[in-house]
Assembly symmetry: none
DNA sequence: ATCCTTTTTAACGGAATTTTAACGCAGAGG
DNA sequence: CCTCTGCGTTAAAATTCCGTTAAAAAGGAT
């Protein structure tokens, strides 16, 4: 199972190694930054799920890194610092940090605090940003795995559902046979195009039970399929 | 300006006074509990915005307090403990605590960590933290761990109860097997899906003893399970 | 240590899903 | 006009998945 992506900001080589090794062991992805400016740009481009931030950086005050990141992102920030004074902790926390660890620290405690911070932010993501799709009277709640046409709830098998997700997330685009097969079966076995047709039939029938309901999936002969945007 | 409401759980008089005085100075509302059971019921009735929890309670393990509260509420919990071992911190954090302070602690740091925790939880204000659940004639009192169908009180084993809590808190959503296993057993061992089925059978039987009682748990083959809202 | 409750494991019938195969249809091109 | 190709549809076979039961193992309390 792949864990979340973490940005490590630390200029001390040995501590950086300690942290990155630990994260790798626990199957987290990570990237490193050794300066404040690099940290800010990495945060923007890499979009990490969490930031581990050392306050003692050469080119920029750590507090300013927090403030800069906080102008656009709510990503959890755990500060790791050699300075253990109350005033330092308070300053960091009040400027937007989520947690504060003092060096020397236990890597096990660090991991536990990372897990706690990620757990919280997952709730945020699932709670606030509703991942719902609407196209005409077709309704998909990706988080809840629920599909509706109007008020009618539609039951789909796993492959049918995957297929619908793939098409809906690419509404308007034409997806080739091989692209679809690749994303659903993982392999590129050419024989599977027959199965794909069967699933298309089944999916289309479930989506437009009635004749009145507009067909949303269009065939492109010799190429693939496309979900079209419903007319208003 | 009136600040948020905080529940303090602490059996030591002097520390309780220290904390409550500090909170009062900073214009927070607060209530106190000196035992674990009192803490759980206060949490249900008072609906605090944050909990300060001492782990060394006379009547109940502090970890169990966290677990119990977490069955229905995502309120931030900051643990305050005399025990500073890594294993204690990890256990608390992994069981749902948001932060961990070791005695003796600085009140200023405590206040900063409270502010940080409250700042975060404002973002997910939508979280309905009712301690009583109703769905048709199914009742769950999360704080008291009581389940009823109509007037009939239902006895559930710990795992069955956790399962029901997980499903009920996500009524309408389809929860995948791995998600459920993750939240109940913590691990991702694939073999456990067999146990999950057994518990489902048992839970369903206990929930609808009679044939007349509507089935509330729906199976999504190949995906997981879903608790549906009862028809009116 | 023993009993009771809870949890896990194993086995099997049946249901749901996926794959395979067969057939009809429509358009393109000779 | 015929054939060939790609598509949609249906039905049946093969496979996977699920629910249930019962028994074994583990855990707790007296």
């Amino acid at each position: 199972m792949k864990e979340s992506r973490i940005l490590i900001v630390e200029d001390d080589r040995s501590i950086m190694n300690l942290i990155s090794t630990t994260l790798k062991l626990n199957q987290y992805e990570y990237v490193c930054a050794s300066g404040g400016k690099e940290a800010v740009s990495q945060c923007a481009s890499y979009a990490p799920a969490l930031i581990l931030l050392d306050l003692g950086l050469p080119d920029m005050d750590g507090i300013d890194v927090i403030r800069t990141v906080r102008t656009w992102s709510q990503v959890p920030i755990i500060v790791i610092s050699a300075r253990g004074e109350d005033s330092d902790k308070i300053e960091a926390l009040d400027n937007g940090a989520d947690d504060y660890l003092t060096k020397p620290f236990s890597v096990d405690e660090m991991m536990a605090r990372i897990r706690a911070a990620l757990r919280r932010s997952i709730q945020l993501a699932s709670g606030s940003s509703e991942s719902v799709y609407r196209n005409g009277d077709l309704f998909i709640d990706y988080a809840a795995s629920i599909v509706k046409r109007g008020e009618r709830e539609i039951h789909l098998t796993p492959i049918e559902y995957k297929l619908l997700c793939l098409l809906s997330r690419n509404t308007g685009k034409v997806l080739t046979h091989s692209y679809i097969i690749q994303h659903i079966w993982g392999s590129t076995m050419e024989t599977d195009i027959v199965s794909l047709r069967v699933y298309m039939t089944s999916l289309r029938r479930k989506l437009s039970q009635d004749e009145s309901e507009e067909a949303l999936i269009r065939t492109h002969v010799g190429i693939g399929y496309q979900m079209v945007r419903a007319e208003e």
